[in-house]
Each structure stands twice: as structure tokens, then as C-alpha cells.
Symmetry: C2
Subunit: 263 residues, 2 copies
DNA sequence: CGCGCCGTTGATATTATTCAAGACCAGTGG
DNA sequence: CCACTGGTCTTGAATAATATCAACGGCGCG
């Protein structure tokens, strides 16, 4: 049935490339796409817990949100009401930069927990937008913490999740602070590949969910620079690029690009 | 008694400028310098807890470390054995950058908790060095978490601490990703001022604990650029600079610098 | 007193941005 | 079906920002 308006268009759980991946992983990914009711949010980082906690978690989510591409999940300044788990899809977090500008501070894939940065302040410091049709659920912090008090494994899992977020920030700082443009883009592509791999998708071929401008904002570059770099990488045979469809032809060469000294 | 060797030199708890500050805050700062046995680590961010937890915390620290300027607290790759609390002094965290380079990823003052990023991986991803004579204590994560299971206030306090660290990372990303050199340095100085203020020190005059090179590394700039910017700010009457002694003459003008559009 | 690290400043080189123009593409309405 | 439209992407040329190279002054420490 063609000619549906955008508003009425059916909600579609996004699909990645169906390129070959190890069967077991692919099966997990299929489950992830199906968004089962449990909180085994993602194969890449399940919130580990004992069976009792798991059953409690299943009945926990108070808010279950389906977002269409471009829809806003959290607005800058919103009160913090709980952590947000992405069940499937992907989001970007945009912060207000100096002089009225904007910067993409993070992007999240299925299994990631959003809003961690807002626990401290009590309100969100960024606007979180869906980059494709996505599904999230809210986990009230009080309830989560109550469960953590009963289940040490789950408690550790939460600390680990927050720690990972801190480490990810470090990695981005490293990128922004000490890499040149081409190294940043190479690192970005490899990071994406790794995260897709953990989700059971092909790490070799994937679809960019961000525009050149958004990628540039995330990497501290202009959209033109990003575009040019894609062209360069393409010309050098490192990647195949067609719009937002990317295939990494030589991941190790990309890695070498990242590792090479400043000149 | 002059002419002591570095090894034997008396351990000196570092002192900040003794410039006017509100008496109450100054009193707190004095206490912080005295390093009392309790875990009210710092006026800027006490780990809140009930009295029972507090008494448990007092007997907790397994490792109490006194560091002299330049000494290493944690080396990149060290196994994670517990969170580290700075009682007094300051430290920098250095990560290995691409191409054999190094980057200062964070600096910590009294009251800050170090090593949070290592919970996830199980080992530290940075080398942490004292920027001045400092004192730290290690808090084994198991024990901390056991206490958190008994005391919800303390539990929340831990989450908040980790959340704050994530937010701080975001702030640095913003600096590195969307500010020009002079905006970065202005933001850095204002951040220092605010943190010193929270510790009860003068936010107007303080001593930089990092070299120009370290500041540059943290801000993603070369040492020469940092030096030039200090000269500029000085010439414009924004700050008074003499080596590492800095006085902010016009903080609001500095803030305006940070906020101004890219042009 | 001298050595070495730190900081400053100038000249030059490089990198990435900005400005500008046009191509491409998907969605929309005629 | 086709042309239109707005957003996205690409590419070139000029420009601005910052790094790099180099030389020197100063200060602290041994």
C-alpha cells in the first residue's frame, strides 16, 4: 500500500544489513529485534542479575516508548525520572555548545542505557533523538536501586555499566583531543563496526544512521571534511561508500591509520 | 634544616593560596587539609551516608597512600583493586594516545574519586600521577558495594558520583569538539575556579598544578598555543599570570569568551 | 654555578574551516 | 509519469586557525 502519510506510516523496527554473520550471533540479533519482554537488553551488554531479579525486572518498566525516526525521547532540561534502555534502534544525544551551537555528544545503539549523566544533576543535559525507528523503556532509578540492594550481581552490573560509559567518554576525548581528522573518522568507523559486531550484525557492512553533519559534529569536524575523508578512504580502497551505506574493505588498514603518529 | 634529599624531604600537605574566602568554607578546607579519618572526603562532594555507614567507612580503607609530586598512583594496565579517593592534593590521568603519544584525560582535586573507569574493564586504562604532594586512600569496591546494599543514601551517592564523572566527560568533549583555543582555555580556568571555590579556596587566585604542556594536552592544544593565550588574556586584562600563579581579574569576561559564537 | 626543564615569542607550515556552487536523491504534488 | 522541492552530499578555492620549528630567557634544583 503506497502513498501513506508520514504520520500514519507503520512503525517499523529497523533492520540492519542481513549480511553473513556467525549464526549464533545472528540468532541473538534476531531476538534483539523482536524486543522480548525481558531485560536481557542486548547481547553486547546484558544487565546481569539472578533469576529473581530478572523476574522483577520484567514487570518493572513504567514507560515503554516507540519512537519514529527523528522523534525526541528526552529534551534538554527535562527532569530525570529514570534510566532509559534502548531495546532496538539508535539515538543521538545533542548538547548545547558555546555560542548557540549544538554538538552530538554520544550515539547509542540497542542495549545501551541513556540518561546516566542526568542522575547527578536531576535533569537531562542533552536532547536525545531517535536516528531511526526505535524502542525504549524507562527504568525508574529508585526501583532499580532497590533491586540492586537485593542482588549484588545486578548491583555490580549497574556500576559496570556506568563505568563503561565513563570509559567511552575517555575514548571520545582521546579522539577529539589528539587525533587528526582522518584518524577520527577511521576510529569512528571501527567503533561502529565493533559495536555492530557485538550486536550480531555484520561489522563489515552497515548503514550510517547519522548525516555527514551529525558525524562531523560528533567528531569535532565540519560536514565538508567528513565528506572529503569518505571520498579519500574510498579512493584509497579502504572503504566502499555509497551515501550512508558503508563497507569496510580493509579494517586493519583503517586501524593502522588510527595508530599512526601525527605525521 | 636545608639541603634535604628529595627522598627524605618531609611530606608536605600542599597548601593553596591563603586568600580571603568565606570563613566557614575556609574552616572546612582546613579540615580537608588535615585529612581526618572519616570519609567526608571533601566539602565539594561528600559521599553521603547514614551514621552507621559512616562508622563502617572509617575502618574501611585498606591502602592509604601518600604521594609526592610526580609519583605514580596507578599505572596504565594495573589491575583494578578499588576506587581511589583523593584526600588532599591533585592528580592527573594520562592515557596513551594514537601513535605513541600521550594525553591528559582528566585532572582530579581533593574529594574526587579516581579509577571509576576501570570497574568495567577490571584494569586501569590510564596512568595517574600526583601533581603535588597528595594523599589518597583505596576503597575496595566489594566493601563499598556491601555498604551500599545496606544504606540506600550511600548507594545513591555512589551512582551520583559516577554520573557526575560522566557529565564531566561530556563537558570536556564539548570543549574539545566545539570550542576554539581561547574558549577552551577560558573554560578551563573557569572550571578550575569553580572547583577551588567548592573546596573553600579562592576562586580568584590559584596555582596551576600542570605545566603548559599538560594543560595543552588536556585541552587538545600545543604548549605554545597555551602560552600565547595566557599572554593574550594577560594583555587584555582578563587574568594576571606569572608562571603558574593565576589571578582571574574578570571572570565574567572570561565567561563571555566561552559563550561567544564561533564568529 | 650550571644544567635541565619550563615558558615565551617569532616565523613558517599545515590542517581544517568557510564560502560557494552544483549534483544527487527521496518524497510530494501536479 | 514527471517536474519540483528541500535536504543531503560532494567538490573546489580561498581563508583562518593552530601546529610545528626554532631560538632564547628564566627559574629552580641539585
Amino acid at each position: 500500500m503506497p502513498n501513506r502519510s508520514a504520520q500514519q506510516r507503520a512503525f517499523a523496527v529497523p533492520e540492519q544489513h542481513r549480511l553473513p554473520a556467525r549464526p549464533t550471533l545472528r540468532a541473538v540479533a534476531r531476538d534483539a529485534r523482536a524486543c522480548p519482554p525481558s531485560l536481557s537488553l542486548s547481547p553486547s551488554f546484558p544487565l546481569r542479575c539472578n533469576t529473581e531479579t530478572a523476574s522483577q525486572l520484567e514487570v518493572l518498566p513504567t514507560r515503554r516508548v516507540r519512537l519514529r525516526k527523528g522523534e525526541v525521547l528526552v529534551r534538554n532540561g527535562d527532569a530525570f525520572t529514570g534510566l532509559l534502555a534502548i531495546r532496538c534502534g539508535s539515538c543521538k544525544a545533542v548538547v548545547a555548545a558555546a555560542g548557540g551551537g549544538q554538538q552530538v555528544a554520544a550515539y547509542y545503539l540497542a542495549g545501551d542505557i541513556l540518561g546516566t549523566e542526568a542522575i547527578f544533576a536531576g535533569f537531562h543535559g542533552s536532547t536525545i533523538t531517535a536516528l531511526e525507528d526505535s524502542e525504549c523503556c524507562e527504568l525508574p532509578l529508585d526501583r532499580i536501586e532497590a533491586l540492586a540492594r537485593e542482588d549484588a550481581t545486578f548491583q555490580r552490573s549497574l556500576s559496570t555499566m556506568l563505568s563503561r560509559e565513563i570509559g567511552r567518554g575517555r575514548k571520545v576525548m582521546l579522539m577529539l583531543g589528539s587525533m587528526r581528522a582522518e584518524q577520527r573518522l577511521a576510529a569512528y568507523l571501527l567503533d561502529l563496526a565493533e559495536r555492530y559486531r557485538l550486536l550480531g550484525y555484520s561489522p563489515r557492512a552497515f548503514v550510517l544512521r547519522m548525516t555527514r553533519e551529525e558525524i562531523g559534529s560528533y567528531l569535532g569536524l565540519s560536514q565538508e571534511t567528513v565528506s572529503r575523508l569518505f571520498s579519500c578512504f574510498h579512493a584509497e580502497g579502504l572503504v566502499q561508500v555509497q551515501g550512508r551505506e558503508v563497507t569496510l574493505l580493509d579494517a586493519s588498514a583503517l586501524q593502522r591509520r588510527v595508530d599512526e603518529p601525527l605525521h
